[in-house]
């Protein structure tokens, strides 16, 4: 009896070694059905399991397996059908008509219809979704002529709507379980009923969330996996150890620290993938408080931009994984991105010259001015960025004090009290500059108390004109053209500037096959994923 346990452990160890060596030469290409995928929930434990109104990364990452969206994104933002089989935009751009997939059932067996879409739109997204009011501002009415048709009537053409109908951003909840309830406190938020490939099984708080195969999924034969188990592992070292020992096989949104990334890439039992984050478009941004000196002077802001060597910053703070930023729109957002913009190459002399012009000559001790830099408390990375910036600016005579605090205090300081000089922060693009970029530049997004709004206090009528024209642009070409102008003006006025285009990563076991390469692949449904034996 005493020797039994180690014997079993040894045997399973040997078996798993045998399995790895056997699998290596002949890579099975036909999907294998069955198996449990253990995933690390990142970042942290979700609050609820529906992203219809809660947009935390962990919520979106898990709930997109339970809920389908109307559509999703393939490679390079190509729109692909999910619950909507097709969609037509009218010639004048003022009507979008969706045809819904027939015979789709909620996990409790009730049919999925256009009434669910209308209810989610009117009662959930417009009322309690953090961004939907502005995303869908152009929608005048939503009509459901029959159970499988949804028609959006628009006041003006709006290009942003189709960029926001994937299950991560606009999740459809079942009307029959939500109608007449307090949506945010509805108990189904924690034991959701969706239409997706996996259905909810159990949630042991602080430990794990278990999803199981939906046997009635509309895409017959899928998903391949029997179960998906999300584990909550708060410590980064422990998370890497879990990947290394194989007790966790998948994780999105950079689940291990950048220090472990190279080791993970060298480990042949693991695969590291940078795809699937184009829609999320994560970037690190330096944002100035333009309401007060010294950063109310554009020359000082430009001097700062010239003084920071972004290539070196990427190397030092992210081991070269991030890409130096050039625009408030990321290079992965290919449709809108342009390189025809003012640039701020690393140039200490130019920075010195600008600071002299702005009236900040060097004093006896070599410094010109002193400012405080607050970093977003999303982990140690931001402290590293802040330290790099401090070092860079010292060279041009700007004395930087780094200030740390916890997230609620940071939010209050920046967005409620505007009591800061400049911040190093994170901004997500969410598939479209209208969602991800406007909020830093439009004067109507100077919103007290609202996180990730225009905390800089930047207001320029010319910029407002461009943005508002883009919102109502009659064609996509015109919208793209306007957003290129927005980028040009943003790089000229520089109320904020992109330091680094983050390359977020997925870490997975080498046995995991069929991962999506789509633009929102980090929030995919996992229906095509299987575990090689």
């Amino acid at each position: 009896m005493r020797t039994l346990i180690p014997a079993i452990a040894w045997r399973s160890l040997l078996l798993s070694i045998a399995a790895i060596t056997l699998q290596a030469p002949v890579q099975a290409q036909t999907p294998v059905r069955g198996g449990t995928l253990v995933v690390v929930s990142n970042p942290g434990e979700p609050a609820v399991l529906t992203a219809a109104f809660n947009q935390q990364g962990a919520v979106a990452a898990i709930s997109t397996k339970i809920f389908d969206g109307l559509l999703h994104f393939g490679e390079n933002f190509k729109l692909e059908p999910e619950l909507a089989t097709n969609w037509d935009v009218s010639k004048d751009g003022k009507e979008i008509r969706f045809r819904l997939r027939p015979n789709v059932k909620w996990h409790d067996g009730k049919p999925f219809t256009s009434a669910d879409v209308k209810f989610s739109f009117e009662e959930v997204w417009l009322k309690v979704h953090p961004r939907a009011r502005s995303t869908f501002a152009a929608v005048e009415a939503i009509e459901t002529p029959d159970p499988l048709t949804v028609v959006l009537k628009l006041r003006n053409p709006s290009g942003v709507i189709l960029s926001a109908l994937n299950s991560a951003e606009s999740q459809i909840v079942p009307k029959h379980l939500y109608e007449g309830t307090d949506i945010v406190r509805n108990p189904w938020n924690a034991k959701p009923v969706g239409t997706g490939p996996f259905r909810f099984k159990e949630w042991v708080r602080g430990d794990r969330i278990v999803l199981e195969r939906n046997p009635d999924y509309w895409d017959a034969g899928k998903p391949y996996l029997d179960q998906v188990v999300y584990r909550i592992i708060p410590d980064a070292t422990a998370r890497y150890a879990a990947f290394e020992t194989g007790s966790v096989q998948y994780g999105v949104l950079s689940p291990i620290s950048v220090n472990d990334l190279e080791r993970a890439q060298k480990n042949k039992n693991l695969q590291v993938d940078f795809h699937g984050y184009e829609w999320l478009a994560s970037r690190n941004v330096l944002e100035f408080n333009v309401r007060k000196p010294p950063f109310n002077d554009v020359r000082v802001r430009r001097a700062v931009a010239h003084a920071i060597d972004l290539a070196a910053m990427s190397k030092v703070t992210t081991r070269g994984f991030a890409k130096p930023g050039t625009s408030p729109v990321l290079s992965t957002q290919t449709r809108f991105f342009t390189t025809d913009l003012p640039t701020y190459p690393f140039d200490v002399k130019q920075a010195d010259k600008l600071l002299d012009e702005a009236g900040f000559p060097r004093k006896g001790d070599g410094t010109r001015l002193a400012v405080t830099l607050d970093w977003l408390p999303f982990g140690e990375n931001y402290l590293r960025y802040a330290e790099f910036i401090k070092q860079s600016l010292r060279r041009v005579g700007i004395d930087v004090t780094i200030r740390g605090q916890d997230l609620p205090q940071f939010m209050r300081r920046v967005y409620s009290q505007n009591d800061f000089d400049f911040i190093v922060t994170h901004i997500a693009g969410f598939g479209d500059p209208q969602i991800g970029t406007d909020r830093l530049l439009w004067s109507k997004t100077i919103l007290k108390d609202v996180p990730w709004s225009n905390g800089a206090g930047y207001s320029n009528p010319a910029m407002d004109g461009l943005i508002e024209a883009a919102h109502e642009a009659p064609t996509e070409e015109r919208r793209i053209e306007l957003y290129k102008k927005v980028q040009r003006l943003a790089q000229t006025d520089l109320p904020s500037f992109t330091l680094l285009e983050n390359r977020m990563y997925t870490v997975a076991s080498a046995r995991l096959r069929g991962l999506s390469k789509g633009s929102d692949g980090s929030y995919e449904s996992l229906k095509n994923v299987w575990l090689a034996p």
Binding site: T36, Q56, P130, G206, A238, L407, V450
Partner: protein
């Protein structure tokens, strides 16, 4: 070290003496429980005020985690959470709820505070009990051995090891153990409470939990074991010099019997007090251990609640851990009377 001082030290806000009168155990317990109520009320009031001093509120955190929000969205959340009420109203409402057995709703977690704490209490108590057992067994054994071999090699080795462990931060010790026993040797799981799947039946479940418990319990226990070892050694050396030990020696009792019956038992009395006083520290230390080993306990819940300004949950946790500490102190005082027949409860 005398019993009176020890008993006093372990009582929260209450004065106790050692007046000889037997058989009043029950009324003593009732009295002590009654004294807890104002104590807990004060804990709660202090916690509530302190929490309000922390800048930033939960709605902002929710919107921050969600990647943004509109002012209407924030206002509607604030209203539905009752955060637009004046502070004293929030407190009165809270007290009213607590008195009716309702600890409130955690908006961040979309669940009642009672349910959240209930789910975490078991793992925390299990970890604390296992950690305490490790600490007491290792600490007392090590301390007793060191005292019995005073000045010899064993004493020095135990002293150095205890010092090293004591000086190591808890998370570092945990990560070190994990790297050795989980990653390199693959003997034990990396973290978590139970294997995520493939566990069928009560025995398999218990075995899986036990395997997951080993490293966290050792990490938590080792830090306290180091303290207890030093403490036991000191207390025993003091007792070794007392008259009754000399008497025992002169009677010709064996060294082992003297150490166990005459010295250790007497030295245990102050140790029990220290253990009682350190309950709070044990629960606090559990936060780091729970984080490193992904153990679903109260410490991590409290840490997250603080980060998210989840006031209802925090207040509930403070109430819960306050109650725990108060009860442990009561248990220590009762244990004292059991260990030393000369101690009287009043």
């Amino acid at each position: 070290m005398n019993a009176t001082a020890a008993a006093d030290a372990s009582v929260v806000g209450a004065a106790l003496g050692c007046v000889p009168s037997r058989g009043r155990g029950r009324s003593y317990v009732v009295g002590r429980v009654a004294q807890m109520v104002p104590t807990l009320f004060l804990i709660l009031l202090t916690a509530f005020v302190l929490l309000q001093l922390a800048p930033g509120d939960m709605v902002q955190v929710l919107a921050g985690e969600a990647g943004g929000g509109s002012p209407e969205y924030l206002a509607s959340l604030r209203q539905s959470f009752g955060l637009d009420q004046p502070l004293y109203m929030q407190f009165l409402l809270y007290i009213q709820n607590v008195l009716s057995g309702n600890l409130g709703f955690s908006f961040r977690n979309n669940a009642t505070v009672t349910a959240l704490i209930g789910a975490r209490l078991g793992p925390t108590l299990l970890l604390a009990a296992a950690g305490l057992t490790v600490a007491v067994v290792l600490g007392v054994a090590g301390g007793a051995l060191a005292a019995a071999r005073r000045g010899r090699a064993a004493d020095r080795v135990i002293g150095v090891v205890a010092l090293l462990i004591y000086a190591t931060p808890g998370f570092l010790l945990g990560i070190g153990l994990m790297l050795i026993f989980s990653v390199a040797l693959r003997w034990l799981p990396v973290g978590g409470f139970v294997d995520p799947y493939g566990v069928d039946g009560a025995w398999a479940h218990a075995l899986s939990v036990a395997r997951h418990l080993v490293l966290p319990a050792i990490t938590l226990g080792a830090l306290h074991a180091a303290i207890y070892a030093r403490f036991t050694r000191g207390a025993m050396l003091e007792v070794y010099g007392q008259d009754h030990v000399r008497t025992a020696r002169s009677k010709g009792l064996s060294a082992q019997r003297i150490t166990l019956r005459h010295v250790l038992r007497n030295a245990l009395l102050p140790l029990v007090t220290v253990i009682g006083m350190q309950t709070g520290a044990l629960l606090g230390g559990a936060i780091l251990v729970e984080t490193v080993f992904a153990w679903p306990g109260l410490g991590r819940l409290a840490f997250e609640a603080m980060q998210q300004r989840d006031y209802n949950l925090l207040a509930g946790l403070i109430l819960c851990s306050g109650t725990l500490v108060v009860f442990v102190n009561l248990a220590v005082d009762l244990l004292y009377a059991v260990l030393d027949p000369r101690v009287r409860l009043q």
